[in-house]
Symmetry: C2
Subunit: 432 residues, 2 copies
């Protein structure tokens, strides 16, 4: 049986992992797809570079055409990263009727729907399981496993760096800056951690997941995101005291026909399955109307888990090739996207204030909330070391984001409110 | 586009759920498979019976031939339960080239490999996701998602009844009997709970999972199982004190070419992801050489989650029908089964003894363990209320089951050992 030839774009840590898995698992792959799979060409930036994986030097090339214009290569695996140039390569590959497997969430979040359309037009597969939470087969589960259900909510811890930082801050009572530094030394955070800690990476993954889970075309621009750079140890400790754990949470909600997709540091009841997902691990919680609560847990990144997801997708593509059914796997969006406005976004909120400790202050705060029809679920008040100041922490019942933002504006204008220290969304009530 | 006709065997709670989902999700199903799906005939025991779901009476029949001999019916969904008669029905259906979706773990654990062979010979699909942990797409994940990895360990909480009972016993310090009674009143346990509480149900599911995860033909007879009927509150409390949580655990391990599959109450570190899976929820932890630790969490039973899994399988079958590729989905086992003997099964063990509180007793116990090359990780000794007796709880380091059983035998013969109160496997070390 003739081997299937694969072209690999990129030979970094993930690419090396892919090469290793394809070599070491030939028997298993052969058993599943019925023919050998071989890497025929690898696009790199520098053919002379020392690499951790042993590769026949004749496989390496700096010229994309060696892959795109080779009719023998039927599958292109993209693990080089980057957005615009990579998009060009992949569109060229699809037009040459090559199937694609990519691990590139940045690309998929920005150009995903265009690429899927081109794939469809050319009868090619475009698989991207590895682009979200590398070690968790979440996209396949959303599309296949929950095919007969209506998914109404997804919550994800989909960035390992920020989860590592928040876990350490929470468990060891450390400040953000010092944990970030440690994470950088350990290789859990990049030298420039901005896209992780500011929530952009998670936002990209949520756009991809929401598109599949809700069967709508959700773009990165539709995802509001906020990172963890301003989270303090105090916030984590007060959260804990009230029974909550802080996570950088991707939240995607479908109410009727309208969706909300966002990423922000949020508080979850410590008994929630997501609350015990620690360190660099990822997890995605999915609520389906029929199935109820499910959760998928695993490593979110790392070269081997990501490479595993890439090779799993490759197996799927090759099976489809042998069945002659490429291009039919992911369905086109079924619904028109309708985004919620702030008046339609509902949640509980955690709010921490410093106020001047005067008579009647608490009652004034209460009536301000009441005038917007927002009531409290939990209240904590404590004197501060600074004389004549008190700390107030409240958790509201469900309130619309608009009402809550109006309250925040009005609070800031009140003379006795010295400072609005922090405010977080509270998630994870039963069944939601 | 012509509708796909489905025959349903059984209209209990799961069957009713299937009927409801197919009715309520026609649009979504249509969008995914490109044609309507309709239930054409339903096999029941009594057509006159009152039912929770409204069904056109003309659909009901007591005659299996109305389904098996109707050439229009292309898919048979089996949710009637039972083993031998049901096997006959399904073999007849497969020989009539009807694809099968079943939720029947009892049947699959006993006759799974025969049925899969017949399906293969007839070019039919036989899907059974709903037979293991209804709400969790674990079988699909084992086959597809981890296709490029080598799975070396699976641990599952795959029985909701026993997990509910152990959770309540642990959280509320109650005795087994009283929690079982409560579970029966709440409908979480059957009037005759034997197959749940004695581990048979979990053993069936582990046989199915191990077969797919390790690509070997594992039968129910290969699974050693033990239930929770002798677990005491004391065991749970001592476990807790040493940092462990008790779960009825299905364990499937692959070492080299050899496997062990068992079900027994076991202790897990309370920080292990499985330890916080509570109440009637199920979860399956999968360790793959490349991917590392992953976990799938969700409802294990319930009519709607199970029905959802059935309809997801139905969607898979119908997609394959439209692509003309039925019968190619699950691969045949790749490896010959080789079971470990007791000398090759390794784990830590928790042991609780009552001994006469004499000088030198502990040193004699220590040297007995040492003579079998087994050492201790944790030790707890306490005087008992009964005079001159002491309670000793130890957790060993890794030891072979054979060595450990020899130790237990010798311990029972020692004069100063009044009673071996309990003994449990300890699981969940890092990476295992």
């Amino acid at each position: 049986m003739q081997a299937i030839s694969v072209g690999l774009l990129g030979l970094g840590t993930v690419g090396s992992g892919v090469v290793r898995i394809i070599e070491n698992h030939q028997d298993k792959l052969m058993h599943q797809v019925g023919c050998p799979i071989k890497v025929k060409k690898i696009l790199v930036q520098d053919v002379e570079k020392e690499r951790s994986v042993k590769v026949d030097p004749s496989l390496l090339t700096v010229n994309p055409a060696d892959i795109m214009e080779d009719p023998e290569i039927e599958v292109v695996i993209e693990v080089m990263g980057g957005i615009e140039d990579t998009r060009e390569h992949l569109i060229q590959a699809l037009r040459s009727k090559k199937n694609i497997v990519t691990a590139n969430k940045d690309l998929m979040a920005v150009h995903g729907s265009e690429l899927l359309t081109v794939a469809n037009e050319n009868g090619c597969d475009l698989f991207f399981e590895a682009s979200v939470a590398g070690g968790i087969p979440i996209l396949r589960s959303l599309v296949d496993g929950l095919a007969s259900d209506r998914i109404t909510k997804m919550m994800g811890i989909v960035n390992g760096t920020t989860n590592y930082i928040l876990t350490k801050m929470s468990q060891e009572g450390l400040a953000y800056d010092s944990v970030l530094k440690e994470a950088q030394q350990l290789g859990y955070a990049e030298a420039n951690p901005a896209s992780d800690v500011e929530g952009l990476d998670a936002a990209r993954k949520m756009a991809i997941m929401a598109s599949l889970g809700f069967s709508m075309k959700i773009d990165l621009d539709d995802v509001k995101f906020k990172g963890i750079t301003t989270v303090t140890e105090e916030d984590l400790q007060y959260g804990k005291q009230l029974g909550y754990t802080m996570k950088l949470l991707g939240i995607a909600v479908l109410d009727g026909d309208k969706v909300e997709v966002c990423v922000e540091p949020a508080l979850l009841p410590s008994t929630h399955p997501l609350a015990s997902v620690n360190n660099e691990y990822n997890a995605v919680y999915v609520y389906g109307e029929a199935v109820g609560e499910t959760m998928f847990y695993g490593p979110g990144a790392g070269s081997l888990p990501t490479a595993t997801a890439v090779v799993s997708d490759l197996v799927g593509v090759v099976k489809n090739m042998r069945l002659g059914v490429n291009g039919s796997s992911f369905v086109t969006p079924q619904y028109e996207k309708q985004l919620k406005d702030d008046g339609e976004v509902n949640s509980k909120h955690f709010l921490r204030l410093h106020v001047h400790d005067e008579v009647g202050v608490f009652s004034k705060i209460t009536s301000l909330f009441a005038s917007h029809n927002v009531s409290f679920e939990k209240i904590l008040q404590m004197p501060l070391k600074e004389k004549e100041l008190a700390e107030i922490v409240v958790v509201t019942h469900q309130a619309s984001l608009k009402d809550y933002q109006d309250i925040l504006m009005e609070l800031r204008d009140l003379k006795f409110v010295k400072d609005v220290k922090s405010s977080y969304r509270v998630e994870g009530s039963v069944g939601a």
